[in-house]
Amino acid sequence: MTLTGRRAAPIEGRARGGKTAGTPGRALLVLVAGLLAGCSGTPEPAVPLAPPHMRVVTTQQYLNTLSYVFGTSINLGIAFPPPPRTEGLLASGAALSGVTASQIELFQRAANSIANQVVSPENRAFLIPCTPASSSRADHECAKTFLSQTSRLLQRRPLSDAELSGYVAQAGATADQLGDFYKGIAVVLESLLVSPEVLFIIETSEPDPNDPERLRLDAYSLASRLSFFLWNAAPDDMLLKVAESGELHNKRKLARVVDTMLASPRLEVGVRAFFDDMFAFDIFDSLSKDATVYPYFTGAVVADAREQTLLTVVDHLVRKELDYRDLFTTRSTFMSAALAPIYQLPAEVGWTAHEFPTDSPRQGLLTHVSFLASHSHPGRSSPTLRGKALRELLLCQIVPPPPPDVDFSALNNPDAHYPTQRERVAAHLQNPSCAGCHRITDPIGLALENFDGAGRFRDSEGGSPIDTSGDLDGKEFTDSVGLAQSLRDNPGLPRCLVQRVYSYASGSAMKPTDRVLLEYLTAQFSQDGYKLPELMRTVVLSNAFSAVAESPGIDEPLEPGVPVRQQIVLNGQPHQP
């Protein structure tokens, strides 16, 4: 075996703004700030703890992890279906969802493709850290080197000697049987990539030595929770080393690790993933418009509309570390050639920074094409859908579904002529069972009526001037700019973000019993100037993030009747493999 030493070094911490987070000055500042906050601030309230979670990995988490382990040239080529959205987040659904036989098959196809790419002649020299003595037979040492490094990163923990020996033996037997060392590696790598500890994030608890009555996540589970939250990927070598050293539960060490992670460029990946989930951007995977009504709303627009908002979010919250609330009033964004026609701007090549003029009705995320188009009908705008989305996605409120026994007589007059959406949705208010909900959605959405169902500006509808007045929780405004400011000042806006961030980070939706924790975290967020990285830091350093309750039923004996390898039935006949 010859060691070739190709594996990429772990990504170094790099402070936003060009400073090195790992420098003593920065680390000390953060540490001191953390300790001061802990001394002077309100103590974290105790809340009933949730048990450890078991979550299915998402396509992006799988891909991000592979990118770290094998580099970005590995192409997944397959998207795993999303879990059901639960309490506003796909991430919360991932903690409940099972995997079907079809999904396992999908995982296996992806695994096979990845394994073949890794051992391919063009990649093996870079991705396998050693060269076998002969490529036509087993080389246990080289296989062991590759598999110990790779499995540790994929399974997010070191393998036991017995586990590693099993994998090496399997690779060796396959290599000798097929006369190909690399086929042996590929076969074992494929099985690793579909193994439950790769496809599921399985958290494990241990007694807290500081309080043996309580449980906490073990170090590897804590490392995974941190990494999937902050980077949307499995822990890297650095984080696993800290977990292996036993120091991750040391508060000071944990604070330093978190600071390094927050300063890493990978934070942008994590923040993008969070907002893609919170803003329900999975809707873009199937969004389309009536091409006869909106001919300029192309597939490229769909992709770029999503990207525009995510670029804006990352720039505002991570790179510039600005106030979260100002995302809804900012005039700064990014523009692409595909989006330019909808924004009625001259097209430029690639993504360019763009500032809407001060007199523009475009202000903040609500006036992005992503929000306007995804909460509209295929052929027209929808004040109701837009208002509902604002309340549910950004304020974490629940707008009840329409009642089943609606009397549609108000809409049933063939002679009715509604010059604009305002008059059309006003018909809802004639029915008391509809009016309750439409009063809390439509006045919001009507302020965005200057933008059609594809998000393009208009000042009239069917020749009639558009009235964009409205209100949000009693605050009246006359247009989209007023709505943006009203939303920006709404206390529910940062509170909702905190609720979603905590749910996303911890892996399950906040419950009513978490209310005091929500209030505490929201107060901290306010104190920190509504800066997202600070909120993330507060969350991951909270006791609630790493303390857990016992899993219900964990002490129950395993059902004895399920054999490890069931009898296989082929063509209706029992088959003994």
């Binding site: 059901p84 999904q103 396992i104 097929l178 193994s195 439950p196 389309s288 964990i554 390898r565």
Partner: protein
């Protein structure tokens, strides 16, 4: 001399290096007349579902005549070519019991699970296709196949449990690749080369299965159920590998479909939905003919169907609520336009099964399809007057060509009939008011 057995022959050939088997030389691979599987096993009976959204307009949908040779009112006139192959059961009532009428949800959930849901995330137990798949789906390459014409991976009528939907195939290109791509075990290939690499992959997968016990000890009871679901899927994957090591039985009805090289348009306009539906149907039908699965689901449109007619501003769902009833016609013309297209595509779906000759008849003779919708009259979200279709003769166990008045009984009676026809000898099916032990006797032979 001991008579040659094809499985023994192949296993012997695989014992060592791979060899290519020239199949025409081995007569034991074929049966005498090509009308059954080579093993002599009877042609399997398959089960499938079809789902469309937003019900119908009873005045122009419900036939006047009960029984055979029923009339075809204008909204279902497209069914003339398949009338003899289907049953139309009208006037079913989905009982919501003490729960709310969850618009565009309660109706189909009751029809497919037997129980009224308490909220929009609720699915009690599993959907009927999963129950049947657990019974008959274990021996084929795929336990079941689920596809949608909506182009939306979230749009499905099939659930393993409330948190685990069976995500549908939404891209014809991906569906083709999954079915007939490089890993397709062509039962009629003239040669067969057992691949020792597949055996090695299967062996490695078996090692993963052995992690079950240790993992189960680490998690609570709810997560154990999820892990069990995962390991069940993994065992099926292991079985897929095993199947690839054996030459499948030749199947006369099986023909490799034309290659799909690109997806059609992914919009929501009616033509795009119909195009995707046709492509998915053709692939699904051939997957069944080639015995790749025995359980299947096709979602045509969702309850909140967003299908559009280009240039008309209201998608189908919105139209059912906002479009005025035409005073002269007595119904909502645009809403009916969408429903008529759904019926035309349902006819295409059924007819596609008749194009495949199987035994002395067609594939449709050996299939039973259960087609459901969410409402009777979508405009008012009614849970009564809901129509249900069936198609196919379930291997001679079912009659077809009938219009049946369910007399306000639950659609679960049709589901229960399907379960019985597929060999599940259950005393009853469904919960509370939707529980039934009374199949649709007119259908059962």
């Amino acid at each position: 001399m001991k008579k040659a057995n094809r499985r023994a022959v192949l296993r012997g050939m695989l014992n060592g290096t791979a060899v290519t088997v020239a199949l025409p030389l081995l007569n034991c691979f074929l049966n005498d007349n090509g009308t059954a599987l080579a093993s002599g096993a009877p042609i399997p009976v398959r089960f499938g579902t079809w789902g469309w959204g937003l019900g119908m307009n009873s005045e122009i949908f419900v036939p006047n005549k009960i029984g055979a040779d029923f009339d075809l009112p204008e909204e279902i006139s497209a069914l003339s070519s398949v009338r003899k192959h289907i049953n139309l059961i009208t006037n079913t009532t989905a009982f919501r019991d003490s729960y709310q009428n969850l618009c565009h949800y309660s109706g189909w959930v009751i029809a497919r699970t037997g129980a009224a849901p308490k909220d929009r995330r609720d699915i009690r137990g599993e959907t009927i296709d999963v129950t049947i798949s657990n019974r008959i789906g274990g021996s084929t390459r795929f336990r079941s196949l689920t596809a949608t014409a909506t182009a939306d991976v979230r749009s499905t009528y099939s659930y393993v449990d409330r948190n685990t939907p069976n995500a549908p195939e939404w891209s014809p290109l991906q569906f083709y690749t999954r079915l007939f791509g490089p890993e397709y075990p062509d039962p009629n290939a003239t040669s067969f080369t057992p691949d020792p690499l597949v055996m090695a992959r299967k062996s490695a997968l078996s090692g993963v299965l052995e992690q079950r016990q240790s993992l189960m000890r680490r998690v609570g009871s709810e997560d154990r159920a999820r892990l069990d679901q995962y390991f069940t899927g993994l065992r099926h994957l292991e079985q897929q590998f095993q199947q690839r090591l054996e030459k499948p039985e030749p199947i006369a009805a099986c023909r490799l479909p034309g290659e799909v090289t690109a997806d059609p348009a992914m919009g929501q306009d009616q033509d795009a939905v119909s195009d995707r539906h046709r492509m998915m149907t053709d692939l699904m039908v051939m997957a069944l003919a080639c015995d790749q699965t025995r359980v299947f689901n096709m979602g045509y449109t969702a309850g909140f169907a967003s299908t559009i007619k280009p240039g008309y501003e209201k998608p189908h769902h919105t139209a059912t609520h906002e479009e005025p009833v035409d005073g002269e016609l007595g119904y909502q013309p645009m809403s009916s336009w969408f429903t008529r297209h759904a019926m035309a595509d349902w006819a295409y779906f059924v007819d596609a099964f008749t194009k495949v000759k199987e035994g002395d008849g067609t594939l449709l003779d050996n299939v039973f399809i259960y087609a459901t919708t969410d409402h009777g009259y979508a405009r008012t979200h009614s849970l009564d007057g809901i129509p249900v279709f069936t198609a196919g003769r379930a291997g001679g166990r079912a009659r077809t060509g009938l219009h049946i008045d369910a007399k306000a009984t639950s659609p679960t009676r049709v589901g229960y009939t399907a379960l019985r026809l597929m060999g599940l000898d259950l005393p009853s099916w469904g919960a509370d008011s939707n529980n039934t032990s009374s199949p649709i006797s007119e259908i059962v032979v």
